[in-house]
Amino acid sequence: MGTKCSCECGTAPTLIFSCSGAADVGEMADQAARSLTREGKGKMFCLAGIGGRVSGIMKTTEAAAKILAIDGCPLNCARKSLEEAGFKDFIHLGLADMGLKKGETTLDQTSLERVIDEATRLLKQEK
């Protein structure tokens, strides 16, 4: 038709889901997802919408270019929620794998930056 879009419609985003759990590591996962969003490395999206099978959130996630799930503890609720909803192809970052222990982690800038750096590395690595 010769018409070109100048807007960002149809642009598939990188979506970031955080477990945002009640524990200190859940808070760390949440803060990392928000920081990554502010840095433009992806867009934090609502994991509760996946659990609730909210149609707009499901369809947007299906259309995402990349998905990153960040879990604070080894229960891996973010990963399991996505899998239960039928999403298989996503990047997973577990803070426990980085040595951050539930109940023993302080939300300090150094630890947060470590998580952000690792998430950034994984996002760059995965096509």
Binding site: C5, C9, G10, T11, C46, G56, K59, A63
Partner: protein, 77 residues
């Protein structure tokens, strides 16, 4: 009556989706109310992050796709 909403900022792709919806509705004979939503805040209420999006009776059926009238007709059954 079916409630159909086309969500998009108003670019050619979004406008074409609305035209395709109108075409599908006319061909189906199903009574529908078609609304175009361009307000970003209203769009965010549907949990979408990619446009154009098509909402039928409150359910998001597609995002980021320019559906053909035939594709849309499937949602009118």
């Amino acid at each position: 009556m079916k409630e159909i909403k086309v969500l998009g900022p108003g670019c050619p792709k979004c406008e074409q989706l609305k035209k395709n919806v109108e075409q599908a509705v006319a061909a189906s004979g199903v009574e529908c109310n078609i609304e175009k939503i361009t307000d970003m805040l209203k769009m965010s209420e549907y949990g979408i992050m990619i446009t154009p999006a098509l909402v039928v009776d409150g359910e998001v059926k597609s995002v980021g796709k320019l559906l053909s009238p035939d594709d849309i007709a499937e949602f009118l059954k």
